[in-house]
Symmetry: none
Subunit: 401 residues, 2 copies
C-alpha cells in the first residue's frame, strides 16, 4: 500500500490550521572562510525561537544522494512519492509559464537551436537568443496548422519554449527529438508503443514545419523537443487530506505545481512581505497554506552566498506576521538544498522545523543544518512531513483497533 | 522502481575518483572492562582526522536486527538490494575458492560428514577433518562420472567443499540434502519445480556415488549438500554507475564478489600495506576503488579483541597512503559488525565516514560507533552509500524538472 492510501484512510477534519513555509533551496554548504552555511551565517532570531519550540530534523526530498528538481522537491513536501509521480519536463515547462493545461494535452519543452546546411546541430541553444526574440519566433510557430489538433507555442526564457498539442486520444509516450549533443541532426520523434504513432507523426510534422518557418532566422533556424508528457493522474490534497489548501507563491511554476495537487491560488505581490501579507489576509478562509519563497534558491543558483543570507534574514523579519496568526502547525523547510558554493540544486538534506503544541520539542535551539542533525525528527524522507503536520494538527485518526 | 534503476537513469561521468575502504567486520561491542569497542580502543589519529572532515553515520547492511553474511554485506555497500540479489550459498562457496563459474553452472556447498551403519548422520562435519584430508577426498570425488554433465569437486577448508555441475538446461531450484541435524539420514535432493527434476537426479546420483567412494574413509564417509545455485543475473557497476571499478582484495571470496559486479581485479600482496600500495600504483587507471581488509573480521570471529584493535591501528597507519592520493570521495566503513565478544558477524550497524569537498561535515570528531550516532548521515541503509558517494563525486544528474 502506498503511504498516501494509508493517510487518506485515516484523515479527518479538525479546526487546526497548517502553514507550510517552503524556503526554496534552503540547505547550503559551509563557507570555506567561516565553516558556516548560509542559514548558519544569517541572523535569524525568529527562526531560532521557532526552532526552539519545534521538533527539528533533516529531510531527504527524493533520497540520500539524489539532487531533486523543483517538482519532485515540492511533491515530496506535499506527501507524494516523487519517483512514482515523476512529472514530465513538458508539463513542468507549461506549468512554469502558467499555461492552462487540459488533461488530454501533450506538452513538450523546446529549444531553439542552430543547424548547419547539412541539418546538423551546431548550437543546442541558438546562441541563447533573447527572450524577446524567442517570443517573436514563438508567435510565428504558433501559426503552424496540423490537421485534427490545436497547438500552442509559448516562450519560456531565452532559447526555451513550450509547445502544447491539444487533440483527442494522443498518448504522450514518444521519444525526444533533442539528441542532447551537437554535430548530429535532430532525431525523429518515435512512438514508444503503437497507440502513440499518431503523436509521433504530429510532433514530426510540427518540427518539419518549424524548420521551414525558421529557415531564414539564423541562428534560431531549428527546434529540438524533449519531455513529451501529459498531466499526471494525481489525487488532490483535498481528496487525500480533506484539507482546503491554498498556495501563496509569486513564481508561475510553483503556482502551477500547487494547482496540480488541487490548491487554490492566492493573489500576491512579488516581495517576501507581500506573501506574508497575503497569508494574513486570507488566513480565516483556508486550513492549509503553502507559502513559497523563491529568492533563496535564485541566490544559491547565482552562487551569491551573501544574497542568500540576506534573503533568509528578510524571511526571518517577516516571520512574526506568520507566527502571530498562531497556526496550530508551522512547518519551515525547503524543497531541496541550493548551496551557493555549488551554484545549483544539490543532494544535501534540508533542515526542517515542525512547530505545534503537540510536537514534543527536542533540544535544538537554532535553525541550522548543524543543529538539525541532532533534532528529534532525525533524518527522514520529505514525504513524511505531511503526515507529521496532519498528526500535529489532530487531523489523523488512529490506525487499527 | 528499484533504487538502482533511478540511479542508473541519472548517473553521469565526471573526473571524480571514489575510494571505498571496507574494513571487514568493523563494528564491535564495548569491552566489559573499558566500555570501549575495538574501534574506540584503537589509537587511530588518521581515521579520526578523516572523520572530522567527513560526514558520518551508521549503516544497516540489510536492516535493523539482521546479521548479514559477507555477500549481502558487500552487495549492499555496492548499492545492490541484498535481499533482492540474494546470492546462493553454492555460488558463494565457488567464488570463495576462485572457481571460474560459468552462467549455466550449478554450484552447491558440501560438507564431509559421518554416517553410522544405518546411514544416519552422527557428525555433520566429520570431526572437522583437516584441509589436507579434504583436498585428498575431493580429488577422489572429482573422478565421479555422470552422463551428460561435467562435474568439479574442490576443497574449501576443513570439512567444507564446493561441487559444480556443468551441463545444459539445468535449473538450480532443488532442495538441500543436508538435514541440518544429526540422528537422521541425509535427505534426497528434490526438484522445486518440474524442469529441475533432472538437476535433482544428477545431484542424487553424485551423492550415491560419493557415498560409495567414501565408504572406507571414516569419519568422512558421506557428503551433505546445500545451497544449489547459479550465478545471478546482476547488472554490473559499470552498467549502473558508468564507473571503471577495480577491486583490491587479498581473499578469493571478495575477489569473486567484486568480479560478480563487474570489477577488475588487481594483484596485491596479502598485507594491509600491500593493498594500500596496490591502490597507489593503480590510482590513475580507474575511478572506483574497492579496498578490502579482512583481518578485522578474522580477529572478531576468533574472539580476539586485542588483535582486532591492532589490525585497526595497522589500517590507520596505512591510511595516509590513501589520503595523500586526494581522492574526491573517500568512504570508510565495514560490510557488517563482527564484535570480538560475540565471535561472529552481528546485526549491529556499522560506522561510516564519507569525505568529500562537498560532504557538509558534521561535528563528529572521531571515528567510532558512539561518535557516529550523532553524525550528519544519521542511521541509514548501506545501499544508500553508493548514491551518496556518486553524488559527492558529482556523478549524479538532477532528478526531475
Amino acid at each position: 500500500m502506498d503511504n498516501l492510501d494509508l493517510i487518506k484512510q485515516i484523515s479527518i477534519t479538525s479546526p487546526g490550521k497548517i502553514v507550510l513555509l517552503v524556503i526554496d533551496g534552503l540547505g547550503g554548504l559551509p563557507h570555506p572562510g567561516t565553516a558556516k552555511t548560509e542559514l548558519e551565517t544569517a541572523n535569524t532570531p525568529n527562526l531560532d525561537r521557532l526552532a526552539t519550540q519545534s521538533i527539528c530534523g533533516l529531510i531527504d526530498p527524493v533520497g540520500p544522494g539524489i539532487t531533486p528538481g523543483s517538482t519532485p522537491g515540492h511533491l515530496a513536501l506535499f506527501g507524494y512519492d516523487p519517483v512514482k509521480y515523476n512529472i514530465g519536463r513538458g508539463v513542468v515547462a507549461a506549468l512554469g509559464i502558467d499555461f492552462d493545461l487540459k488533461p488530454a494535452d501533450i506538452a513538450a519543452r523546446g529549444n531553439f537551436c542552430t543547424v548547419d546546411s547539412s541539418g546538423f546541430i551546431t548550437d543546442r541553444r541558438a546562441g541563447r537568443i533573447s527572450t524577446e526574440k524567442c517570443t517573436e519566433l514563438c508567435r510565428l510557430l504558433d501559426e503552424i496548422k496540423i490537421e485534427g489538433i490545436k497547438l500552442f507555442v509559448r516562450p519560456v526564457r531565452e532559447h526555451r519554449f513550450a509547445v502544447v498539442f491539444r487533440g483527442e486520444g494522443l498518448p504522450p509516450e514518444v521519444s525526444d527529438s533533442d539528441p542532447q549533443q551537437t554535430g548530429v541532426a535532430p532525431k525523429a520523434v518515435k512512438a514508444k508503443h503503437a497507440p502513440a504513432l499518431r503523436t509521433a507523426d504530429i510532433a514530426n510534422e510540427f518540427i518539419a514545419q518549424a524548420g521551414a518557418t525558421l529557415a531564414r532566422h539564423q541562428p534560431a533556424n531549428m527546434v529540438i523537443l524533449r519531455g513529451f508528457s501529459s498531466l499526471p493522474i494525481i489525487p488532490t490534497m483535498d481528496d487525500i487530506y480533506i484539507l482546503k489548501p491554498v498556495a501563496i507563491a509569486a513564481y508561475p511554476m510553483y503556482r502551477g505545481l500547487a494547482k496540480l495537487v488541487g490548491m487554490t491560488l492566492l493573489k500576491t505581490g512579488p516581495a517576501i512581505a507581500d506573501e506574508f501579507d497575503a497569508l494574513k489576509k486570507n488566513y480565516t478562509d483556508y486550513d492549509f497554506f503553502f507559502l513559497h519563497i523563491k529568492g533563496t534558491d535564485s541566490a544559491g543558483e547565482d552562487g551569491d552566498f551573501d544574497r542568500k543570507v540576506s534573503v533568509i534574514e528578510e524571511i526571518d523579519r517577516a516571520l512574526p506576521t506568520l507566527t502571530s496568526l498562531k497556526p496550530d502547525v508551522i512547518v519551515v523547510t525547503g524543497d531541496h538544498s541550493t548551496p551557493a558554493l555549488l551554484k545549483s540544486h544539490s543532494w544535501h538534506p534540508v533542515p526542517v522545523a515542525l512547530y505545534s503544541q503537540w510536537c514534543r520539542p527536542d533540544r535544538v535551539g537554532e535553525f541550522s543544518e548543524q543543529a538539525c542533525v541532532s533534532g528529534g525528527l532525525g533524518r527522514l524522507p520529505a514525504t513524511q512531513i505531511m503526515p507529521l503536520a496532519m498528526a500535529n494538527a489532530l487531523k489523523l485518526a488512529k490506525f487499527g483497533a
